[in-house]
């Protein structure tokens, strides 16, 4: 554990990685960025300077927020990350990207402000303590909690706050999407983890809601994804879905106590790590799929990632899912019936996730087929290496990350294998049946447009108004009246009049006196 107060930076600045989990978080984030960087070397072809500038700023922001041990440092990192990501989103310069970017930026700013308010309130609640470590000890006001949830939630992108995700991810270049989905949205989660004091009463009450919300998000994301025909949109919705699981994990962390909490935290970090690698790898794959000629091992890698996504045994997914279920059952704060219901619904979630994976596989294949693969360039070494890092990391995660190893071992027990496999099998079955029937999604249901892009345009019109003329006083006939007065004031007879008036005044004065 290294923590380090730096006197000469902003007030209270201190850095360090508080515990093993934070180290792990830092580690996977760093790896993710490195992989994306490798991938970007040849993938990015226009406006390279800008791309790298903002890539690096976003990366440093992301790393800073993990490393920061004080509020301001965290906020600095968070803001740097989320704002410079805007440049990554609109990098392609297409109108779609700009629309998506606008929505992203609007929400990022709003989120930033809400977060700022939340942080200020939070610090105020704890008597101006700027050290993160001391924040978690205190109670929390409902308003602060709400603001925190909204602020971080807008970044984390779970269910009701996910609106920017399906827009921004397809617009951004693949490596940018990878880090967006793999690392940046996790930062929101990380923030919640860091800022919300688990033991506060309010948190205990709200966590149950969050648990349900997380599951909703998980189901919603996966189901909506099936409607979409663009691979990156599907991936984005998958992220929404997966963030739902992670939200559940977080809620479990809050709800559980003692050792169970440590376990739940491990699950949370493990889940984040797992999802980061696989989603980044998938995005890289999806990016390569549209404009590069893929080799067989590429498809293998994509397959493995999907395999992991649906949490089939031996993958890291299975481990973290198992951990999640364990955690859900281990916590005692929520009603038992709710936990059991949720436990059951998690299987439905797995089913939908599997459907999504299959849908995605088909889409990617179609994408590759649709283009003349021979005329496509081959995937370059840099890209391969970036991809490779992620896939290898994904495969090796259960072994490399010691804290999740118990779950992995547990997940290959027979019951666990069955529990994780039957939804997948059901999904495959369902998929095959649908295939067999030949039912395809009606045209008008495909790619539903999000209303939020339109709303963002309206919002923009609201604040980009034309200047109006200043309010001016106009008096009709003012000038001529004034001229008359002036002429009157300078008349010759005025003197004698004045003399008379003066004399009368004095006379009256005198007589009265």
């Amino acid at each position: 554990m290294l923590s380090n107060v730096v006197e000469w930076l902003w007030p209270g600045a201190s850095f360090g990685l508080a515990n093993q989990l934070a180290q792990l978080w830092f580690g996977f984030t760093l790896l993710l960025w490195l992989a994306a960087a490798c991938y970007s070397v040849t993938f990015i072809k226009r406006q390279v300077g800008f791309y790298w500038l903002f890539f690096i700023v976003a990366m440093s922001g992301n790393l800073l927020l993990i490393v920061a041990q004080d509020v301001l440092g965290f906020y600095l990192g968070f803001a740097l990350m989320s704002l410079s990501a805007y440049a990554l989103v609109i990098h392609s310069g297409s109108s779609q990207a700009r629309r998506a970017g606008r929505l992203y930026l609007q929400l990022a700013i709003v989120g930033e402000l809400l977060l700022f308010a939340a942080i200020v309130l939070r610090v105020h609640e704890s008597d101006g303590n700027l050290a993160l470590a001391e924040l978690t000890m205190d109670s929390i006001q409902p308003l602060t909690l709400l603001l925190l949830l909204l602020g971080f939630g807008l970044k984390a992108g779970f269910f009701p706050l996910h609106v920017w995700l399906p827009q921004a991810h397809p617009a951004a270049p693949a490596p940018a999407s990878a880090v967006l989905s793999g690392a940046m949205i996790k930062a929101g989660l990380f923030g919640l983890w860091v800022f919300v004091p688990a033991s506060a009463v309010v948190v205990q009450q709200w966590a149950v809601v969050l648990l349900v919300l997380g599951l909703c998000s998980a189901l919603f994301g996966a189901v909506i994804a099936l409607w979409h025909q663009q691979s990156k949109v599907v991936l984005a919705y998958s992220s929404v879905s997966q963030m739902g699981y992670m939200l559940m994990a977080l809620a479990i962390v809050w709800l559980s106590t003692g050792d169970a909490r440590v376990m739940a935290a491990t699950v949370l970090v493990g889940y984040a790590c797992h999802h980061a690698f696989l989603k980044a790898a998938l995005f890289l794959g999806a990016g390569a799929c549209s404009s590069y000629r893929l080799q067989r091992f590429h498809w293998l890698a994509i397959g493995w990632c999907l395999f992991t996504l649906v949490a089939l045994p031996l993958s890291s997914g299975a481990a973290v899912k198992y951990g999640l279920k364990q955690g859900l059952m281990a916590q005692q704060s929520s009603p038992v019936w709710l936990a059991e219901w949720l436990y059951g619904l998690l299987s439905v979630g797995a089913l939908t996730t599997a459907l999504l994976a299959l849908h995605l596989w088909c889409l990617l294949r179609q994408q590759q087929m649709a283009t003349h693969s021979q005329s496509m360039p081959a995937v370059s070494g840099w890209m391969n290496s970036g991809w490779l890092i992620l896939v290898v990391a994904s495969i090796s995660m259960p072994f490399a990350v010691i804290s999740t190893q118990p779950f992995w071992w547990a997940s290959i027990s027979l019951s666990a294998v069955w529990a994780s496999s039957w939804p997948v099998l059901a999904a495959v079955l369902l998929f095959l049946i649908v295939r067999q029937i030949g039912w395809i999604l009606p045209e008008r249901w495909r790619d539903p447009q999000s209303r939020f892009v339109w709303l963002s345009l309206r919002a923009k019109r609201l604040y980009q108004t034309q200047s109006r003329a200043e309010w001016q006083v106009r008096w009709p006939g003012w000038r001529s009246l004034e001229r008359q007065i002036n002429q009157g004031l300078q008349r010759a007879e005025l003197l004698s009049t004045a003399a008379v008036v003066l004399s009368s005044v004095m006379l009256i004065l005198w007589l009265l006196h």
Binding site: E482, N486, L489, Q490, A492, L494, L495, A498, A499, V501, L502, S503, V505, M506, L507, L509, W510, L512, H513
Partner: protein, 473 residues
């Protein structure tokens, strides 16, 4: 006292010499002024060290003789007169050569200085009449210096001035008829005790006459025409000095001769007249299309402050109002000198009488324009000018008396109006799009001389301690 006497006689001698020895009129007059300036300084010093002094002319007993009194106030006014006259004379030395009737300017201006000095020193009702008459005639004669175009204004000025003098004289006669003395101090011992309709009427008559001569609202209408038509140094002298004479007498009359009730009643009138002067004078100055008329109206407005101060001083025992009155007089004299000299200089070089001729003056005649702006700053009352000092002295005792809030409002509005008309000129001067080209190369020295009084008045606030010490008791 001897030096005060010298300060009165030197300009008289200079005037006589200048009349007789016409070739060197300018130098003689100028030399006389400078010498009298030195004398006035010494006189002030003596008063400050030895206290007030008095002189009975001819060494006859009190009552029979005319009594001269040299107090701190009169010494200061004497100094003011000599300072302003020497400044104007210096300016005229450099600029008056272009005027046809220059030779007549010198004796007249020296006589003006002499008569005003005599007025300050005197404490005799009839002697005041004579000095007033003298002052009026000098002023009229000087107005006519600019030739035929000035005759109408000068004649009007003459007639009204005579009417004013007659009113005053009538009042003097009534008082003399009743009390048989002319010395103010003696009258002051008798008059308030035996107050009657007669004395009231005499005071009213004298007030009317003095207001007419001093161009106090509502009897100010002759002033803009007369002051605007005169040559620049003359306007400066008229506005800075001549109108202050009647004001001085007015204050002496009401503060010394009137009963408390009467002066309270009169104070209301003075306050009203002062407010109206401030507002209408300021407004007229703002709207007039001619530059010098504007400056002249500004005099009308500024005299409103003096009237306000008189009114307040009559109403309240606070000596600060008196102090404010004298400070206004001093600051206005200096500022107005500068303003008229500057405007005159610009009018001469740029051609035209309208305000519009000042377009671009800050580029073509920067020093003169600067002088005008600086003098205007004092008229507005911007710190640290003398105008500011005076206004400050007026505001300080005014604030604690809440029932007088109306006059605060008037002062506020008057200040805004003065700012409006001053900056109307200044803004025009910064016009670079369409500047007025000078007809010939502007002379630099007169411009600098026009600036001197403005700078003096801006340094005034730093000497305020002395003023308070001298005037406030």
């Amino acid at each position: 006292m001897n030096y005060a006497l010298a300060a009165v006689l030197l300009p008289l001698l200079a005037a006589l010499l200048a009349l007789g020895w016409r070739r060197y009129a300018a130098w003689v007059s100028w030399g006389g002024t400078i010498l009298s300036l030195l004398c006035a300084i010494v006189a002030l010093q003596q008063v400050l060290s030895d206290g007030p002094q008095q002189m009975l002319l001819g060494n006859w007993p009190t009552g029979l003789a005319i009594r001269w009194q040299l107090s701190e106030l009169t010494a200061l006014l004497l100094l003011l007169t000599t300072v302003i006259h020497s400044l104007v004379a210096s300016y005229s030395l450099t600029s008056l050569r272009r005027l046809q009737v220059a030779a007549d300017f010198w004796p007249l201006s020296s006589l003006l200085q002499m008569s005003l000095s005599a007025l300050w020193l005197s404490t005799d009702l009839f002697n005041w009449y004579v000095t007033l008459e003298l002052l009026g005639l000098v002023a009229v004669a000087m107005v006519t210096l600019s030739g035929n175009k000035s005759v109408a204004a000068a004649l009007r000025y003459l007639l009204l001035s005579l009417a004013g003098s007659l009113c005053y004289l009538l009042g003097v006669a009534l008082l003399y008829g009743q009390f048989g003395v002319l010395d103010v101090a003696e009258l002051a011992t008798r008059m308030p005790a035996s107050e009657s309709h007669m004395t009231t009427f005499a005071l009213v008559l004298m007030t009317a006459g003095l207001m007419l001569k001093g161009a106090l609202w509502p009897l100010h209408l002759w002033l803009p025409a007369a002051h605007a038509v005169a040559p620049a140094p003359v306007s400066a002298l008229l506005s800075a000095l001549v109108v202050k004479g009647p004001l001085f007498i007015l204050w002496m009359l009401w503060s010394q001769l009137a009963t408390v009730e009467l002066s309270h009643a009169a104070a209301g009138f003075f306050l009203f007249a002062g407010s109206m002067a401030l507002l209408t004078g300021g407004w007229s100055a703002l709207r007039t299309p001619y530059a010098k008329v504007m400056v002249a109206y500004s005099t009308v407005a500024q005299l409103g402050y003096a009237l306000l101060a008189i009114g307040l001083a009559l109403r309240s025992a606070d000596p600060a109002f008196q102090l404010a009155l004298w400070l206004f007089i001093i600051a206005h004299a200096l500022a107005k000198t500068s303003a008229f000299l500057a405007v005159g200089e610009m009018q001469h070089s740029l051609g035209g009488k309208r305000v519009q001729m000042l377009k671009g003056a800050s580029q073509t005649m920067p020093v003169a324009m600067f002088a005008l702006a600086v003098a205007g700053g004092s008229l507005i009352g911007l710190p640290p000018s003398g105008g500011f000092l005076a206004k400050w002295q007026l505001l300080l005792p005014l604030w604690p008396e809440w029932q007088l809030w109306l006059w605060l409002l008037v002062i506020f509005l008057g200040t805004l109006l003065s700012a409006a008309y001053v900056f109307r000129l200044v803004v025009l001067a910064f016009d670079r799009a369409d500047p007025v080209k000078p007809d010939f190369a502007p002379q630099l020295l007169p411009q600098w001389l026009a600036l001197v009084p403005a700078l003096l008045v801006w340094g005034l606030a730093f000497g305020s301690h002395s003023f308070v010490h001298w005037l406030g008791g």
